[in-house]
């Protein structure tokens, strides 16, 4: 192939490279284009402050706590009722949890008769499922993060939770037994993050 022809060909290729680079940059910068971001979901949990109360002879005790965290998958309320007083009859302990935007849940257990007994009751309040989205379209990673939060955030469970502990049973004792009650809430939640997809290279 003649040298002049080759040089011309090289010139055309380099010119195309230059023009292509400039056009590509202008189009990329000026024309909004969305791209695909991969979405990953992780779950975590945190415990809130334990609360204590006591009552004599049975009845209802109410606890409340505030939840600020969003994206809850479930709340778990653990109540321990213990008593060192003598109880001639077993008592039924019922824990009812009322959370914002969730169905009221309750669990019961029996506190045996006798002395030095305790019962632990765990009430699980299902909230929201972890989203299943695996990708999101956005202009850049900041927008992807913002859109992800906007699209998949849920406020279910955010607000005031009320936990009612009810101790019921036939009262035949001369002295009313004392009950120590502790309540510990734990919240499970999901978090979403976006990553730029990178090719999976074999070589």
């Amino acid at each position: 192939m003649p040298v002049q022809k080759i040089d011309m060909l090289i010139g055309v290729v380099l010119a195309l490279g230059l023009v292509g680079s400039v056009i590509g940059t202008i189009v990329y910068e000026e024309v909004p284009q969305s791209r695909t971001f991969e979405v990953t979901w992780t779950t975590s949990s945190e415990g809130l402050a334990e609360q204590e109360d006591s009552q004599t002879g049975g009845g209802e005790t109410e606890f409340t706590f505030e939840v600020e965290r969003a994206n809850l998958t479930e709340g778990v309320v653990t109540v321990v009722v213990s008593s060192s007083s003598a109880r001639p009859q077993p008592r039924t302990v019922t824990v009812t949890v009322d959370a914002p935007n969730a169905t009221e849940q309750s669990e019961s257990a029996s506190l045996p008769s006798g002395t030095s007994n305790s019962v632990e009751i765990e009430v699980v309040v299902p909230m929201s499922d972890v989203p299943t989205a695996t990708e999101i379209q956005a202009m850049d990673i900041d927008q992807a993060r913002t859109d992800l939060n906007a699209s998949y955030a849920t406020a279910n469970g955010t607000g005031t939770w009320t936990v009612t502990v009810s101790i019921q049973g036939e009262q035949v004792a001369l002295t009313n037994p004392m009950y120590e009650i502790t309540m510990t809430p734990t919240l499970a939640y999901y978090m979403g993050d976006v990553t730029i997809p990178t090719p999976d290279i074999n070589r």
């Binding site: 192939m1 040298v3 080759i6 040089d7 060909l9 090289i10 290729v13 380099l14 195309l16 490279g17 292509g20 680079s21 590509g24 940059t25 189009v27 990329y28 910068e29 791209r35 695909t36 971001f37 850049d140 990673i141 900041d142 993050d193 976006v194 990553t195 730029i196 997809p197 990178t198 090719p199 999976d200 290279i201 074999n202 070589r203």
Partner: protein
Amino acid sequence: MAEESGGLIPPPSERAQFGSRIGFILAAIGSAVGFGSIARFPMNVANFGGAVFVLIYIGLMVLIGIPMMINEFSLGRDAQKNTVGVYKTLSERENTPWRFAGHLHWLVAAFFLSWYAVVSGWTLKYVFATASGAYFNDPEGYLAGTVEGPDALIWTLVVLVIVLVVVINQINKGIEKVNMVLMPLLFAMIIGLAIYAATLDNVAAGYTFYLRPDFSAVNLSVVTAAVGQAFFSLSLGIGSMMVYASYLSRQTSLASNAIMISVSTLVFAGICGFLIFPLLSAFGMLESSSGVAGLQLIFGPLAAVFTDMGSPLGQIIGTIFFLAVFFAAFSSAIALTEPPIAYATEEHGIDRRRAAILMVGLIYLGAIIFSFSTDMLNYAGGALTDVSVLVGGIVVALYIGWFSPRAKARRRMDESERGLKLSWYVYPLTRYVLPVVLVILTFFAVFGSPCLLSGDAPGGGLMQQLFGWDALACVPEASAQSAP
């Protein structure tokens, strides 16, 4: 059937040759080691049964990788020509239809480099970014700004200019000299980093995760993953090995060289595991990184490890790591330029300097597209490249096994003054086994496979990437081993 009738053709007197056997071996190792060796092979080992996977991989390397390498070497070394010239010379016909196979090889190499240069550009940028701690505050945000856009284009251009500076010289003065320096340096860096990683706390879980033999993890997916790794990790099917061997003297044993190159590649990839898993373990990222491989592992969890190390330790260790990754990528990149440059010089009579500028320029035109679109890059670097490379391998196997006279094919493989002669083993494999295995791999690459070949999504094949058609379901238990 056998259209070839030529014997051993003397090399053109002006054609350069490798100056030494070690120069050829190091250049071939440089071509073979890349992102896959650093971050895919170790993760495959960890996810597919630990030492059991290594044994299966070695078996398949003996069965597939080394024979295929000997095949490519034998064609190039005998013809002493570029990929198109190989088929013309050995067929003794200018217009042989096999010349299209030669065109396929150099075109695939050029296409491959057009996206590989972009990814190499990311790596080079990360050398400097790690040294300055530029991404330590927001690794994901920094990566997003790296992988596409004007920035990606500039770093791609930088890589291609450096490639051009090397390949503009004859093979013995450019590629050979550079690899003589780069490869020992690369091995030293990886070994040094692995030793450093061993000194960290909480690394035992990393070693256990990497090498724990797990026979229960062995299934069809593991075997297929090992087959893919054995083929793809040796830079086969793209003409690089064929053209490199065309610069090789007839005195050296092809089988001995192929074994040495394959073993060195395996050792290199194995050492990378002793670097990666202790690092991930020491920084509590072993579990979250399970199943993440290749570039995703390098720019994701490993970059995060250096961020967690903080300054200045993370900057120093991370810079050495990314420099090693860049060296591995760069040595592969310069190998990918040789098939197109050799084609231009020998088939069109263009001098090497102009041929190098022209071909690297054309490759840059393709790279512009991939610099501005990660979606396009994903398509190109995924199943599309796999299919192209596999078809290249099938063509070589068919040509040698079915369209070359048996005696000549075997003589090409064995010709040497001393060293191993393995044609008694390689030829029957090439004729009866390799085409079948490669066709199966191609089927998986097109229609999807059990989570392995290279589709970036489970079950991802070319059809899924292009049309969203997921023909074969992924086998989820393929990556069942979880981090301790």
